[in-house]
């Protein structure tokens, strides 16, 4: 059955909003991917050029907020449309913060410099894969209106938290035995923290997708819920 609005202009406005959110999501994913590549390749140049992408992401946030506000004011949306627009308004905030965390990762990479003698840290690579996967799947769930997938993303946050919890105990003995690695290790911890926060933002997005699809607010409902 055709679920389009009788008013085609309204339908078009909602479609534009959805497209802009997807574009912002794609930009954020691209940025994360480049930020992690800059770490893995220890490329300061790539880190610095990646930081510049944040301006586009911020711009999209403003544009999406404006569009959503216009629709709220002019259309007085209800039910699934209202849930979609309120989700959008919150989702862009998380996306923008993910972008900021991408910037933070690039700044740490810049501080680490182009020393390729150190191998990329395994735990950081695992965390990055898991967190990026969460962002990707949360956005996929948003596009598909898939609450099951969104719930799976929410469950995966625990894994990233465990990886992060293992990072400090692993780096601490190295820092104690060799003060020469303290600088690098603190940067790695900082990158780890960014990835852990990034997974939290992906979780927020997934929680909003569940609300958008089912009208159920699942935030702060689990025993380990936070943020």
């Amino acid at each position: 059955m055709d679920r389009r609005h009788t008013d085609r202009e309204y339908e078009g406005e909602l479609e534009t909003l959805r497209e802009r959110v997807l574009l912002m999501g794609a930009r954020v994913e691209e940025m994360l991917s480049l930020a992690m590549r800059s770490y893995l390749e220890r490329s300061v140049e790539l880190a610095q050029s990646t930081i510049e992408l944040d301006t586009h992401i911020d711009q999209l946030e403003l544009e999406i907020d404006e569009l959503a506000l216009q629709i709220l004011a002019r259309r007085q949306p209800v039910a699934s449309d209202l849930r979609f627009i309120t989700t959008t308004l919150k989702l862009v905030t998380d996306l923008e913060r993910i972008g900021d965390l991408g910037v933070n990762i690039c700044e740490r990479v810049t501080e680490l410099g182009a020393d390729r003698s150190q191998n990329p840290h395994d735990q950081i690579a695992r965390m990055a894969d898991a967190a990026q996967g969460m962002v990707h799947d949360a956005l996929d769930a948003f596009v598909a209106g898939d609450a099951v997938k969104a719930n799976q993303v929410i469950d995966r946050d625990k894994t990233v938290d465990v990886y992060y919890a293992q990072l400090f105990p692993e780096l601490l003995p190295r820092m104690m035995s060799d003060p020469g690695v303290v600088f690098e290790s603190t940067r790695l911890l900082s990158i780890g923290k960014c990835l852990e926060r990034l997974a939290d933002h992906a979780t927020n997005i997934a929680e909003m997708v569940v609300f958008m699809v089912k009208g159920q607010d699942v935030r702060h409902s689990g025993p380990g819920s936070h943020g």
Partner: protein, 291 residues
């Protein structure tokens, strides 16, 4: 003072936000969101398997719906869904049309108003009605319009002036008309005329007030006044409002019933209907996806 964003002059700090403030805030929020649910509401009226006909055409196809006491219930749905017929069945106005009839039960408290021994005139005293177009009696003054319902029912109040003042106060019209009570009711603005008609209905001291598109002929300011009045009136009366304006239903009603093709599709708290309706047809209608 308006406590909304316009009226807020400072934000609470840890110094001025006491424990009692926060408890009051919690209670206020509880009162707002934990209103009676559709399954636990106390009905003032209830229809059971209500069917209504115009000749052979069945326009209501078995409606079972409780009307919550001292709450506002909105009936929404596309043209021809039977919503006006439904409210006209609630005070036996439907049968006034030649060839129209209804079957099933309509309970007012515990009494079936369609029982053969029930006098429809008495039903209409207990269940008043306000129509789409303000219809003050054109030859009557404002004062006589308020008293018209009582007089038509053969009543002579001891102090008619007191009744007029009380009813005009109740519809927030007194200050606007107190010096022109002898003038024709039809000389008032549309919004004032509608409030005058509500006063005329209230003079009969009904328990339920039916409103069939009461604001569709009014401008936004007059509409806001009538809606404000509905908020006030629900403290004392059970109100059923039929409206094409879904934002109006969202603004004034505690419960909303969605009708389609003579059937009740969904009945729930208004906040539920407008944020997460359970039925796809409700969703399609309120979001404007009805083909």
């Amino acid at each position: 003072m308006n406590a909304g964003p316009q009226g807020m002059t400072s934000r609470p700090t840890s110094k001025n936000a006491s424990r009692s403030d926060s408890a009051t805030g919690e209670e206020a929020s509880k009162a707002r969101w934990d209103e009676v649910s559709v399954s636990t509401l106390v009905p003032k009226m209830r229809t059971e398997g209500l069917r209504a006909y115009f000749g052979q055409a069945e326009v209501l196809k078995g409606i079972s719906l409780p009307i919550a006491e001292k709450q506002v219930t909105a009936v929404i749905g596309p043209s021809g869904c039977g919503k006006s017929t439904f409210v006209r069945c609630l005070n036996r106005m439907h049968e006034v049309v030649p060839g129209a009839r209804a079957t099933g039960q309509v309970l007012l408290d515990t009494q079936d108003i369609y029982h053969s021994e029930v006098d429809p005139v008495r039903v209409r005293r207990r269940v008043g009605m306000v129509f789409q177009k303000p219809n003050p009696f054109p030859t009557m003054s404002i004062r006589d319009n308020v008293l018209a319902g009582l007089r038509l029912n053969g009543e002579r109040p001891d102090d008619p002036d007191a009744v007029v003042e009380k009813m005009l106060h109740r519809v927030a019209l007194w200050d606007e008309v107190k010096d022109i009570l002898g003038r024709a009711g039809t000389g008032l603005s549309g919004g004032q005329q509608q409030r005058l008609c509500i006063a005329r209905s209230l003079a009969l001291e009904p328990e339920v007030l039916l409103m069939d598109e009461p604001c569709s002929a009014l401008d936004p300011i007059a509409t806001a006044r009538v809606e404000e009045l509905i908020h006030e009136l629900r403290k004392a009366y059970t109100i059923v409002i039929v409206t094409h304006n879904m934002q109006q239903a969202a603004r004034v009603a505690n419960f909303t019933a969605f009708f389609y093709l003579g059937k009740l599709i969904e009945h729930d708290r208004t906040d539920v209907i407008f944020t997460r309706p359970k039925e796809q047809r409700t969703e399609d209608y309120i979001t404007g996806r009805f083909g």
